[in-house]
């Protein structure tokens, strides 16, 4: 037999992979909508608490008005949807059940399989997000300071945030190759993220040292940076700098993941069938 002709291209694969992710998720439109409703609960609690605090302090807290806080948490819901990635505890299941076999026997890295699947699904989630966002907008009266650069920057920052968080989760998932109970470590990750990313509250509302620590870590580029970009709190230069940090963290996390993956995969037991 002669070696088969191949016309592989990563761009073509990404298109196909994202299409499959979209198609799979559109099968479960109601689930996507309910997931979004679930996602509303967390920011709504934060929103109610912090707008109440701001109201009590004359309509502003740490320079954030109630309208800005409302805008922050409404955009939060979209950013949350976008930075969903393959969770470390799902790696635990995948390794324990031997579900990595189907990925490893094909000539494409599992990273691309998962990244494109989640990327494709996000388009469905975005559609489900629109009514949720409209509802929150009517209730909480957000204030946006939009400019074209913010909207354009947001699109890049949103995908940058997804990439950084996806790589963080993916690298963390590698722990499961050494212990099949890595979900405990995921709990620590979520706790750190809540505090250091702007997920719980904008970092301005945190003690100064928390914001200082956050500046050295990737978390804030996955939550607060895209949100701030969209609601108009960042100047064009700050947006560019932020996107640069997202690229830098993507590269760093990508290298870490690649190094760990090489060792991790040697430990894979391919149990199950």
């Amino acid at each position: 037999m002669t070696t088969p002709r191949t016309e592989f291209s990563l761009v073509r694969y990404y298109r196909a992979g994202m299409r499959l992710g979209f198609q799979r998720e559109i099968q479960y439109r109601i689930r996507a909508f309910l997931m979004l409703i679930g996602f509303m609960i967390e920011p709504t609690i934060y929103l109610v608490v912090w707008t109440s605090v701001a109201d009590a302090q004359g309509g502003e807290i740490a320079g954030l008005t109630t309208g800005t806080l409302a805008a922050y948490y409404i955009v939060w819901t979209l950013v949350r949807v976008y930075n969903l990635g393959y969770a470390p505890d799902a790696w635990e299941w995948r390794i324990r059940e031997g579900r990595l076999n189907e990925f490893l026997s094909q000539p494409i890295h599992p990273f691309h399989r998962d990244y494109t699947f989640f990327a494709g699904a996000k388009f469905v989630w975005t559609l489900a997000w629109i009514p949720v966002a409209l509802f929150l907008t009517i209730i909480f009266d957000p204030v946006f300071e939009w400019a074209a650069v913010n909207v354009a920057g947001f699109v890049v920052a949103l995908w940058g945030g997804y990439t950084v968080r996806f790589l963080m989760l993916y690298a963390l998932g590698m722990i499961n190759f050494w212990t099949t109970r890595g979900s405990a470590i995921f709990g620590i990750f979520v706790a750190s993220e809540l505090v250091l990313s702007g997920r719980l509250v904008p970092l301005e509302l945190m003690p100064e040292w928390v914001a200082d620590v956050a500046a050295w870590l990737p978390f804030k580029w996955t939550f607060q940076f895209p949100i701030d970009t969209f609601i108009g709190r960042l100047a064009p230069r700050e947006i560019l700098t932020g996107i640069g940090f997202q690229a830098l963290w993507s590269a760093v996390l990508g290298v870490i993941f690649a190094l760990v993956w090489k060792r991790a995969i040697r430990r894979y037991g391919a149990v199950g069938n």
Binding site: S9, R12, A16, G17, R19, Q23, R266, Y268, A270, N273
Partner: protein, 336 residues
């Protein structure tokens, strides 16, 4: 057996040992295991050697836990070996080079590789992108396979709504779209009804005949083995017990043949000739030692008015059963 240089698969002293934690039952042992973990090494595959010739279909047989699937997982790059070497199409499989993975396929009968919620055709499209299958080739192959397997109507149904047999057909189509040169089939017909088994077997045989692909097949169904392979490798407890022609398996492991005879005046003392398996007024089956087959058959022809006489090999299932029973007895004695 092929010369290793011509062989798409060459396995040399391949060994895989798993380290598994062990502990006795009980709360006390649970607490102890917190501080001091004990492990046991389990040798799943022990220094096995074989090679496959180009275009050959080889049966890889053994009982559950014999090491078949572990071997296949090493040869397809899913597992790193503990020691030894293997080359598949000139590549070390566990390096998982794309050049190799594009040229092989792995089908596991109990595993679903298709997008569960979508019609199989959507997974075919994904495979097209993964393997970089040119448009024209993809269209031709997909159409041909769908026609041969008669699956046009089910290819557009979500996979979750398909029966096991229908799903397996889709799995096979998905696995062959990129035209693999080596097929690793791990129990591809498991759980399928007889008609479906036959259809899949024929499909794989046709693929082998048309493309010259090499096939390594594991199956517990001897019908698969006898219909598809001319050579078998028998593995048990991680070691190879036999590697040779399928026909030689009976010669090696079965010291008997069965004579089926029909005559209206069969002698009463048939048990003098061998072990009587069946006795009817005008028909009997007798198991006799291989070296006595000619003599016994000749004797029957002279003492009775024989209307039909057939000499049969011991059924493959029985031969395999004897191989593994013998192996178990031997290993039990070793442990004594």
């Amino acid at each position: 057996m092929a010369h290793p240089l011509d062989s798409p698969v060459v396995v040399e002293a391949l060994t895989k040992t798993f380290r598994v934690p062990v502990r006795e039952a009980g709360l006390g042992q649970s607490v102890i295991s917190l501080f001091k973990r004990e492990y046991r090494d389990v040798e799943a595959v022990r220094e096995i050697r074989f090679d496959l010739a180009s275009g050959e279909i080889v049966g890889f047989l053994g009982p559950n836990g014999a090491g078949k699937t572990t071997t296949i997982k090493m040869l397809t790059g899913l597992l790193f070996p503990t020691s030894g070497s293997a080359t598949v199409l000139g590549h070390q499989p566990w390096r998982r080079e794309k050049e190799l993975l594009r040229r092989i396929a792995l089908v596991m009968g109990q595993r679903n590789n298709l997008a569960w919620d979508l019609p199989a055709v959507d997974s075919f499209e994904l495979n097209k992108a993964i393997y970089g299958i040119p448009d024209e080739v993809y269209r031709e192959r997909k159409a041909a396979y769908i026609e041969v397997l008669d699956v046009a109507d089910i290819a557009t149904k979500p996979v979750r709504n398909l029966s096991l047999g229908e799903r397996m057909k889709m799995e096979i189509v998905a696995a062959l779209l990129h035209g693999p040169e080596i097929l690793f089939l791990d129990e591809p017909t498991i759980g399928l009804d007889v008609t479906m088994q036959r259809r899949l077997r024929q499909f794989i045989l046709d693929y082998n005949a048309e493309t010259g692909a090499t096939v390594l097949l594991t199956s517990h169904y001897m019908a698969d083995v006898s219909a598809m392979v001319s050579r078998v490798i028998v593995i048990d407890h991680g070691a190879i017990l036999y590697d040779g022609p399928l026909t030689g398996l009976s010669d090696r492991f079965s010291a008997h043949k069965t004579i089926r005879v029909e005559a209206i005046d069969l002698p009463e003392d048939l048990d003098r000739l061998g072990r009587v398996l069946e006795r009817k007024p005008a028909r009997a089956s007798i198991e006799v030692p291989r070296e006595e087959v000619s003599a016994v058959a000749g004797h029957l022809l002279t003492v009775a008015n024989v209307t039909d006489l057939a000499i049969e090999e011991t059924p493959l299932e029985d031969v395999i059963d004897r191989v593994f029973s013998k192996e178990d007895e031997d290993s039990d004695h070793t442990q004594d």
